[in-house]
Every structure is written in C-alpha cells, then in structure tokens.
C-alpha cells in the first residue's frame, strides 16, 4: 500500500479506527499509538491489504494491532497510561467543570468496566453496541460463527449489567 492510499485510508477511517482502539485499550494515548503503528505497517507493506477495504477488515486490523500492543514488552512491563482527557476537554470546552467531570466519571466508569471484560467479550460488545456492526460483520471481524458472536454478547452484556446494577444512584 503506497502513501496516497494510506493517506486516503487515514482520511476516511481514522476516527473509526481510533474510537475502536480507544475503547478496546481504554485510553486515547495508547489508541493513537496503535493506529499510528497500523499506518506505518501499511506504508512499509508489512500488512496485506485487500482490494476492497471493508469495515470488518478495518476492525480486524485494529483488533490485531491492539493485541500486539497489549502483548508488547512495554505493556507487559505494566506501564498502563493514565487517561487525562477529562482535563483536556475541560480546557477546550465551554461546559462547566461539574458537567464535564460527571460525564467523564460515567464514561470512565463504563470504560473501566469494559476493560474488565475479557478481550473476546469486549470486542463484540464494542463492535455491536458502539460501532453498530451486523452479526455477520462481527463474525467476519472476529473470525467466528454468528452463534458465537451472540453467545459472547450474552456474556459481555450480562457482566456489564451486573457490574453496574449496584452503582446506579
């Protein structure tokens, strides 16, 4: 894949790639790093690219990159990044600090719970309930059957519901 193609991919899909990586990994700094790694691999032709780029292919690439990143020596060293985006939003937006922080608290809590889901349950939950993929596309992304997608969603959603049940005001 040559530079202009990667640039086109970047322009068309960067937000989607970044959002999925952020939710899967739990913080924006790691997500940016993973997405940048994907571009570099594509530029250096270390990743095979299909003629027709589909959403399942894109998510699969990000998922693999996230797994590689999680398995990297730096991550194994236990150096998880701290998400300080609340401060950045506070600095950039016109919302009151209380509103921003409440939203952030809720978002951070859900993100934290998502992180507690095993990756095999986390991925289908994000792909379906955030990204809105069909079961068929999720199955293609995760390379499993539609029945497996459904059963993983059962378990992931149930864990989320049970975890949050005691936390509602």
């Amino acid at each position: 894949m040559c530079g202009p193609q990667v640039a086109a991919l970047n322009q068309a899909h960067h937000d989607v790639l970044f959002r999925f990586a952020r939710l899967f990994l739990g913080n924006p700094a790691d997500a940016e790093e993973v997405v940048q790694d994907i571009y570099v691999k594509l530029l250096e032709q270390r990743a095979a690219v299909p003629g027709d780029i589909t959403r399942p292919w894109l998510y699969r690439v990000v998922l693999n990159a996230c797994r590689d990143y999680r398995n990297s020596w730096w991550q194994r060293l236990g150096r998880g990044s701290v998400d300080m985006s609340a401060l950045a939003i506070l600095a950039d937006s016109g919302a009151t600090p209380e509103v921003v922080l409440l939203e952030q608290e809720r978002a951070a809590e859900l993100r934290r719970v998502l992180q507690q889901l095993p990756p095999r349950l986390r991925a289908p939950v994000i792909l379906r309930d955030v990204e809105g993929l069909s079961y068929e596309d999720i199955a293609l992304t995760l390379d499993c059957s539609i029945g497996t997608v459904s059963s993983r969603l059962n378990r992931g959603r149930t864990i989320l519901a049970r975890t949050f049940r005691g936390k509602k005001p």
Partner: protein
C-alpha cells in the same frame, strides 16, 4: 422435554433475538420459548440492560478526539531496565529494521498532521511554508535563487523534522509532472548517488522498499546539503531535472 432442549439450544441466541438478528424458524421457536421460560426472560432482561448501558452511554465525550497526555508510573528497577534498553538501542541503531522510502510521502504526513497533529516516523513535524519564507529564514544554510529553471514551478514548500535533523521539501512541477526535492544536511548518510536506488539511505536509515515513488539520490553537497528527489519520472528525466536544478542552485 422440548422446553428443556429449546432452553439450551436457544439460550445462546438471546442477544441475536434482542438485536433482531433472528429470523425464520429459530425466531418462532425463540418467541414461543420466551413465553414459557422465566429463566430466559430474566437472562434476556440482563442482556438488554447491559446493551442499553453501552448504547445509552454518552459517547459524545468518547468520540471527541482530544490531545492526550500520558503518565507512566516508573519504579526504580524500571530505570535500570530503561537504561539497558537505551544502551541496546544505541548499539542496534545501525541495524534497525529497514523502513520503506514510502515513509517520505509528504501527502501522507500532511494527512496525519490534519488528523493527529503529528507525523509518523521518520517525520516528527511538518509545516507548509513558502519560498519567500525560506529565503527570509532558511532552516538550512541555503540561499534560494529568485528565478526558477525554465518550465518549472513550485506548487508546495514544506519544512519537516525527523528525530535527527530538519529539512526542506519542495514540490516542483516540470513538463506536466510533479516531483519532490528534499534537502537534507550533508551529515545525513546517503549510500547511492544519482541513480535509482535499490537500497539507499534516507533520513539516516537504509530503505529497501520503493513502490509508488521512486527515489533518486543526488550527490549534491553545495552549502553542506545533500539532496533527495522523489519522483515517478524515469532516469533520463531525472538527470535532466538534476542538471537544470544544479544550474538553478548555482
């Protein structure tokens, strides 16, 4: 008996049912089973609650692309490990994995800048500029002549940085074709001069993959600079351009 069999056979499809992904016979069986199975009704309620949690989540905050700050807690032994890694990295610098010349693609860098505010390796910064601005405050010891070679125009000028140095890129148009001229400090090691390169050094690293953009290195050491031309043109075209540019620079 059928109810128990359905219970185990259909339970895994509860999410699919909730998401309207079931059809035909399986959908009918699920609807019939749910009417008589309190356990599956309860489970379906939990699945629905979990789904709504995520779907109702105010993703506006999540979808914002914010500048990120990061902090890594670093124990004492981590510094020792980091020092060891740094020593190994310095020693290994010469044998680092070979990047593609594609990494010099300025349009890609520009797209990166628009989205993320920074470039991927080897570019760490890229800004558009003008020839006049370069003349006024050249980042490199280079004086840009007032006149371009006949038939040439400059459609874009950039300043870029890599971890090692700062350079200038000029996008020329000549005979209806575009090509980039990159100027780098003489210290930047270049292995091949004036020929299409199968293996070259660019940005201080060896490159082996040349695809869309051919890279021609020019042994051009005026004012302490070396030059790299990135182009799809053939060898003869490049030689003619180089001769023309050499006259221009002198």
């Amino acid at each position: 008996m059928k109810r128990i069999l359905d219970h185990f056979a259909l339970r895994r499809w509860l999410s699919a049912y909730l998401d309207s992904e079931l059809s035909g016979e399986r959908l009918k069986r699920m609807q019939a089973h749910l009417e008589v199975c309190p356990s599956c009704q309860l489970h379906l309620g939990e699945i629905r609650a979990g789904r709504e949690l995520v779907m109702n989540w105010n993703s506006g905050v999540e979808r914002q692309r914010t500048p990120s700050a990061r902090w890594h807690p670093f124990p004492r032994w981590g510094w020792i490990a980091a020092a060891a890694v740094a020593i190994v990295a310095v020693l290994a610098l010469r044998w680092w994995p070979l990047p593609s010349v594609q990494a010099m693609d300025v349009n890609f860098y520009a797209a990166q800048f628009r989205h993320a505010g920074y470039c991927v390796f080897p570019c760490t910064a890229l800004v558009d500029t003008t020839l006049d601005a370069l003349r006024a405050s050249p980042p490199l010891p280079l004086q840009y002549p007032e006149k371009l070679p006949p038939g040439m125009t400059i459609s874009r000028a950039i300043r870029y940085k890599t971890p090692r140095y700062e350079g200038v890129g000029l996008l020329f148009t000549s005979a209806g074709k575009d090509f980039w001229l990159f100027e780098q400090p003489q210290a930047a090691p270049l292995a091949t001069n004036g020929q299409p390169a199968e293996e070259v050094r660019i940005c201080g690293r060896r490159c082996t993959s040349i695809d869309c953009v051919q890279v021609h290195l020019v042994n051009w050491t005026k004012d302490g600079l070396r030059f790299v031309i990135a182009t799809d043109l053939g060898k003869n075209d490049v030689e003619s351009i180089v001769a023309s540019l050499r006259r221009w620079k002198q």
